[in-house]
C-alpha cells in the first residue's frame, strides 16, 4: 500500500469540502432569504440586522460602497438615482441599470444581494461558504437561469443546483407536515406567478407539471393601482419627480397590503404642486386589480391539463409568496379550486426553507436519505427546421423535449441537410410553445460544418439534454464524419462569456460593503433620512438636528457616545414610524 502524504492531504481536503455547508437561497424579486440544513432541520439565517428577510434592493453610496437590503430600501426615496429594486425582472436580458453614472446588469445587481447573504451565512456558521442552492421561478427560461447561476459565480458561490420555487415550497411543506397526496402550489411573489402540481408519496416529491406567468406579481398589482390613481387625478407620470413617484408607490403599497384592514385608507399627498386627497376603498381596489386576477387562471389550467390530473384530485392548495396574502387573490383561487387554500406555511419563508432542504439533499445529509425529488422542465425545447410541408421555408419549430417532461431528460432527433452541397448547418435552439420559431425564445445557436453532398444525404443527430437545474445542453453529431460538438451554445442573449464574467468579478471586487459593525448605524441614518423626507415642520427640523448630531457622534468615533446616540435616535424613529395609519 502506498500511503503517501499527498494522498492523505487530498483525502483531508476532500473531507473539508464535503463538510463545508451548502446554503439554500431564495433570491426573490422583492425579498431574499437564506437557510442551511442543520441537525436534521432547515434553519433560516438572520442577516446583519437580525431579520430573516433581506429586501432585494441595491444602492451605491458616494464612493465605492454598496448597500444592500433594508438600508438600501430606505434610500429608494431619498436617493432614487443611486438605488434600484425589482431588477430580477431584467434577469437574462441585456438591459442595464444606471446607479450614479455607473451601469450594472441585473446579474451583477443580483450578485450583490447574493454576496450579502453569503456574508451573513458565513457569520452565522463561522466558516467560509462557497456553495449554494438558488431558487428560481419555475417559469424562468434558460437565459434567466444561466444569468442566475452566473450571479452566484460573481458573488463567489458555486451554484450546485437551481431549484424551482414552487418545488422548494412543496419540499418544505411536505417534509414539515409529512402529509401525502397531490397538491397545487401557487407562488405569487413580487414579479412572477408560478403554479406547480406536485405529489408527495413514500418520501418521493414528484412534480407533475409547472406553468406560470413571468410578468404577474405583487408589483403589477401595485402598478395597476398607481396607473389608476394617476388617471383619476389627471396626472401624468412624467409630471412627477422621482421622489414623488416613489412616495406614491410607497403609499399605495401600504394601501395594497392593508386593504382589508378596518381603518380608513386615506391618502394625502402633494404631487406636482397639487394637494391630493384620496380615499382608497375596497371597491376601487377591486376594479383596479380584477384584470390581473383574471390572468391567474390561465397558468393554473395549463398546469392541471399538462399534469392530466382532474381538479377533484387536488387535495390541497398551498399559497406561497407575499402577494398571496391579498384576500382578493385568496378568494379568486378558492373559487377556482372550490376549496379554501391552506396557509400552513409562512408565505415569505417557505421557499428559502425548501432551498435549505435541497441543500441538505445535495450534501447527502443522512437525515434526508429517504427523500427524493423529481422535477420537470416547464417549457418545450426545440430547434428551427424548414417547413415539413415542403415549401422550403425555414422558421418552423421542431419540439425535441416536450414541456413538463421529467428531468433530467435527454432526447435525440435525426435531421438532414436541405440543399445540395450544403457546407454548414446552423442549429438554432429555441424554447416555447409556438409552431413558428420567431414567436419562441431564442436560446442560442451552434454552427456545424458538414461535408458537401446531395440534399438530404447528410444526416446529423441533435441531442438535447435537460439537466436537474433546468439548464439545457445540446450535442450535435454529424453521422458521416462522426464529428461531435458538445453543449456550446453561443450567441445566447443576456448571458456572459467567460471573459465578461471575469471582468464583472473584477469590477465588483472594487466595490465594497460597509464594515459590518457600521451597518447598524448606516441603517439608522438611512431610515432617518427616509422619515425626514416624509415629514414636515417641527418634526422635520427636530429630526434633521438629531441626524446631524448622530453624524457628528459617528465621526468622533467614541463607542459609548455612539451607543447612546443610537439608542436615542432609534427610539424617536420607532415612535415616528408607528405613525398615522395605526
Amino acid at each position: 500500500m502506498d500511503d503517501s502524504p499527498g494522498e492523505d492531504l487530498k483525502f483531508f481536503l476532500k473531507r473539508r469540502t464535503d463538510n463545508m455547508a451548502i446554503i439554500g437561497i431564495d433570491l426573490g424579486t422583492t425579498n431574499s432569504a437564506c437557510g442551511v440544513w442543520q441537525d436534521g432541520a432547515a434553519r433560516l439565517i438572520e442577516n446583519r440586522h437580525g431579520d430573516l428577510l433581506t429586501p432585494s434592493v441595491v444602492g451605491l453610496d458616494g464612493g465605492k460602497n454598496i448597500i444592500v437590503g433594508k438600508t438600501a430600501k430606505h434610500r429608494l426615496m431619498t436617493h432614487p438615482d443611486a438605488t434600484v429594486a425589482v431588477f430580477k425582472r431584467l434577469m437574462g436580458t441585456k438591459h442595464e441599470v444606471e446607479l450614479n453614472d455607473r451601469r450594472f446588469s441585473a446579474t451583477e445587481l443580483s450578485a450583490f444581494v447574493l454576496k450579502s447573504l453569503k456574508e451573513d451565512a458565513e457569520t452565522y456558521l463561522g466558516e467560509a461558504v462557497e456553495e449554494a442552492i438558488i431558487s428560481v421561478p419555475a417559469y424562468f427560461n434558460d437565459n434567466q437561469r444561466h444569468a442566475t447561476k452566473q450571479a452566484g459565480e460573481i458573488a463567489g458561490l458555486k451554484v450546485r443546483r437551481l431549484i424551482n420555487e414552487p418545488t422548494a415550497a412543496a419540499l418544505a411543506y411536505g417534509l414539515h407536515e409529512r402529509k401525502e397526496g397531490i397538491f397545487a402550489v401557487l407562488d405569487m411573489g413580487g414579479g412572477t406567478f408560478d403554479v406547480s402540481v406536485i405529489e408527495y408519496f413514500e418520501g418521493v416529491m414528484e412534480v407533475h407539471a409547472s406553468a406560470g406567468d413571468n410578468y404577474l406579481g405583487g408589483e403589477d398589482f401595485l402598478e395597476a393601482l398607481v396607473s389608476d390613481f394617476l388617471a383619476r387625478n389627471d396626472l401624468e407620470r412624467e409630471q412627477l419627480t422621482k421622489q414623488e413617484l416613489q412616495q406614491l408607490f410607497e403609499s399605495l403599497e401600504e394601501v395594497k397590503c392593508n386593504i382589508n384592514a378596518p381603518w380608513p385608507k386615506r391618502l394625502a399627498l402633494t404631487l406636482a404642486g397639487r394637494e391630493i386627497e384620496f380615499e382608497a376603498s375596497g371597491e376601487w381596489f377591486k376594479t383596479c386589480v380584477t384584470p390581473l386576477l383574471l390572468r391567474v387562471r390561465n397558468p393554473i389550467e395549463q398546469a392541471l391539463r399538462d399534469a392530466r390530473i382532474p381538479l377533484a384530485e387536488i387535495e390541497e392548495v398551498l399559497l406561497v409568496g407575499g402577494a398571496t396574502r391579498m384576500a382578493i387573490f385568496r378568494n379568486a383561487v378558492g373559487k377556482l379550486f372550490g376549496r379554501i387554500p391552506s396557509s400552513h406555511l409562512d408565505p415569505d419563508l417557505a421557499i428559502a426553507m425548501g432551498a435549505a432542504v435541497q441543500a441538505g439533499l445535495k450534501a447527502k445529509d443522512r437525515t434526508l436519505d429517504d427523500v427524493v425529488l423529481t422535477d420537470v422542465c416547464p417549457y418545450t425545447l426545440g430547434t428551427e427546421v424548414v417547413d415539413p410541408g415542403g415549401s422550403g421555408r425555414a422558421g418552423y419549430f421542431l419540439p425535441i423535449i416536450e414541456r413538463n417532461s421529467v428531468v433530467p431528460a435527454s432526447r435525440v432527433e435525426t435531421l438532414q441537410t436541405v440543399e445540395n452541397n450544403q457546407k454548414q448547418l446552423q442549429v438554432n435552439v429555441y424554447q416555447g410553445e409556438h409552431r413558428l420559431v420567431e414567436k419562441n425564445v431564442f436560446l442560442g445557436a451552434i454552427d456545424v460544418k458538414v461535408p458537401p453532398n446531395k440534399a438530404g444525404e447528410e444526416t446529423f443527430d441533435l441531442r438535447f439534454s435537460y439537466d436537474m437545474n433546468g439548464l439545457l445542453e445540446v450535442d450535435v453529431k454529424v453521422n458521416s464524419t462522426g464529428t461531435l460538438i458538445n453543449h456550446v451554445i453561443e450567441q445566447s442573449p443576456g448571458t456572459l462569456s467567460a471573459g465578461e464574467l471575469e471582468r464583472s468579478k473584477e469590477r465588483l471586487a472594487a466595490l465594497k460593503f460597509h464594515p459590518r459593525e457600521q451597518e447598524e448605524n448606516r441603517e439608522l441614518l438611512s431610515r432617518g433620512e427616509h422619515l425626514y423626507s416624509l415629514y414636515l415642520g417641527n418634526e422635520r427640523t427636530m429630526l434633521g438636528e438629531l441626524l446631524a448630531n448622530f453624524e457628528r457622534v459617528l465621526d468622533a468615533q467614541n463607542a459609548t457616545e455612539i451607543t447612546k446616540a443610537r439608542q436615542q435616535l432609534k427610539e424617536l424613529l420607532d415612535a415616528m414610524e408607528a405613525g398615522p395609519l395605526q
Binding site: L76, P80, D81, A82, T83, V84, A85, V86, R89, L90, T93, K94, H95, E96, V97, E98, L99, R103, R161, F201, E202, G203, V204, N214, Y215, E219, D220, E223, A231, R237, K242, Q243, Q246, F249, T290, P291, L293, L294, R297, N298, E301, Q302, R308, A332, K335, L336, D369, D370, V372, L373, T374, V406, V407, P408, A409, S410, H434, L436, K439, D467
Partner: protein, 397 residues
C-alpha cells in the same frame, strides 16, 4: 417478468399504491442526479405501470399477457400519443364537458354579447379598452364553464367582425391590438390556439392575430418597469415621441395634417430654391410639379425610417403607420405616395381636359372639408393604401 414490472422489481399488480411503493424504493437507489439514464428508464417504467393500472391492463390471462409484452412498444406509443389525441379532438371533450354544464343552467351572458355588438357597431367606442371592461365586472367570469362559453362566443364575434372589416376595407373599425390583448387576457385564447384551430371552423389565417398577442404582455411589462426606485433604465430602443406641439386630440388631426404638409412644402421649397437659381429648373417645369414630385419621391424613405414621418409631420408629432399601427415598409410607403400621386395626377388630367373654374374648386374644397370631418382626418389616399396617420402619442387614456 416483462417491462415495466421487471424494472420496478414487482409482480404485475393492479394496486396503484404498490406500484408507487416500488417506484419510491427503486428511486432512492437510482437518484435522478446520479444516474440520469437509469432514472429515465425507471421513470418510464413507472409511468407505463401507472397507465396499465389505470386502464385495467395490468393483470390479464397468459395469452393476452404475451400479446401485450409483444406489443409493448405500441402500447407505449399509445401512451405517448394520448395527449395529442386529447388536444386534437376538443369537440369530443366539449361534448363530455357539456353534460355537467347542462345540469346546472349556465348563467346568462347574452347582455354582455349585446354590449359587445353595440360596441362593434359604434364608430369609436370600441377603440378604448375602458369600454370593454363590462366583461370583467361579471362575477361569473371566475367560473370556468361560463368563461369558456362566453369566451368562445366573443371570439366568434371578433372573427366575424374582423372578416367583415377586411371585406369592406373598413380599417378604422378594426379592433385595436390593445383591445384584443385585453380580451385575450380574460379569455386566454392565445393559450388555446390549437383548440380553436381544430375545434372550430377557423382557418390559421383567421387566428393569425392571436400569435402577436402573446408578445404583447412582456413588452408592456418590461417597458413600464424601471420607475420603481427611480434609477434610470437603459432600454435599447428608447424612443422619444415627436416633439408634440399638439396634444393629440383627434379633432385637430385634419388641421394638423394640413399644417404638416405645408411645412414639408416650405422645407422642399427651401431646398429647391437654390437649385432653381443654379440650374433654372422653373424654366422647364412649373414650381408645384417640381415640389410635388420631390415630395412623392422623398416622403416614403422618411416615413419608413424610425421617424415614421416626414420632417413636417415629425415636427407636429404625427406618424404614418400601417393598419396594424406599425412602421411602414419602404414599399408600402411608396405605395402610399403613388396613390397620392395618382390622385393628384387625376385631378390635373381632368383640369387639362376641361379647365376647372374657381367656383368648382371652392365647392370641391368644401366637400373635402366635410369629408375630413366625417372621416376623422383620414384622407382618401390613406384608405386606398391601407395606411393611416395619427399622433405619435396615441389619443385616449
Amino acid at each position: 417478468m416483462t417491462a415495466p414490472w421487471s424494472v420496478l422489481e414487482i409482480a404485475p399488480t393492479d394496486d396503484k399504491r404498490e406500484v408507487k411503493r416500488a417506484y419510491a424504493r427503486k428511486l432512492k437507489q437510482t437518484r435522478p442526479d446520479e444516474d440520469s439514464v437509469a432514472f429515465q428508464q425507471l421513470h418510464e417504467a413507472y409511468k407505463f405501470a401507472c397507465y396499465l393500472v389505470e386502464n385495467d391492463l395490468a393483470i390479464q390471462d397468459d395469452t393476452e399477457d404475451e400479446a401485450l409484452s409483444g406489443a409493448g412498444p405500441e402500447v407505449l406509443e399509445a401512451l405517448h400519443s394520448e395527449p395529442e389525441e386529447g388536444v386534437g379532438d376538443p369537440q369530443g371533450q366539449c361534448q363530455q364537458d357539456e353534460t355537467p354544464a347542462a345540469t346546472t343552467a349556465p348563467p346568462d351572458f347574452q347582455y354582455l354579447l349585446d354590449h359587445m355588438d353595440a360596441l362593434l357597431a359604434s364608430k369609436n367606442d370600441h377603440y378604448f379598452v375602458e369600454n370593454w371592461k363590462a366583461f370583467e365586472q361579471d362575477e361569473h367570469l371566475l367560473t370556468e364553464d361560463f368563461r369558456t362559453s362566453l369566451g368562445d362566443a366573443v371570439f366568434a364575434r371578433v372573427i366575424a367582425h374582423w372578416k367583415a372589416c377586411e371585406e369592406q376595407r373598413n380599417e378604422p373599425a378594426m379592433l385595436r391590438s390593445a383591445v384584443l390583448h385585453y380580451l385575450d387576457s380574460i379569455f386566454g385564447w392565445s393559450n388555446r390556439y390549437y383548440d380553436l384551430l381544430y375545434g372550430y371552423d377557423y382557418s390559421a389565417e383567421d387566428l393569425e392575430f392571436l400569435n402577436d398577442l402573446k408578445d404583447y404582455v412582456p413588452q408592456q411589462a418590461s417597458k413600464k418597469f424601471g420607475v420603481k426606485g427611480g434609477a434610470a433604465l437603459h432600454i435599447e430602443e428608447k424612443r422619444k415621441t415627436g416633439a408634440a406641439l399638439f396634444d393629440g386630440e383627434a379633432e385637430s388631426l385634419p388641421f394638423v395634417r394640413g399644417l404638416a404638409f405645408v411645412a414639408d412644402v416650405v422645407l422642399l421649397a427651401l431646398i429647391v430654391y437654390p437649385l432653381d437659381l443654379l440650374f433654372g429648373l422653373s424654366a422647364q417645369y412649373d414650381w408645384p410639379t417640381v415640389i410635388f414630385t420631390l415630395y412623392v419621391v422623398l416622403a416614403p424613405p422618411c416615413e419608413a425610417s424610425i421617424w415614421r414621418a416626414t420632417p413636417g409631420k415629425r415636427l407636429l408629432g404625427l406618424q404614418a403607420l400601417n393598419k396594424h399601427r406599425q412602421r411602414l415598409s419602404l414599399t408600402h410607403a411608396y405605395l402610399r405616395a403613388a396613390v397620392l400621386w395618382a390622385m393628384v395626377g387625376g385631378v390635373t388630367y381632368i383640369d387639362s381636359l376641361m379647365p376647372i373654374d374657381s367656383l368648382t374648386v371652392l365647392f370641391a374644397v368644401g366637400v373635402f372639408g366635410v369629408y375630413l370631418q366625417k372621416s376623422k382626418g383620414r384622407f382618401l389616399n390613406d384608405a386606398a393604401s391601407f395606411s393611416l396617420v395619427s399622433f405619435a402619442r396615441k389619443p385616449g387614456p
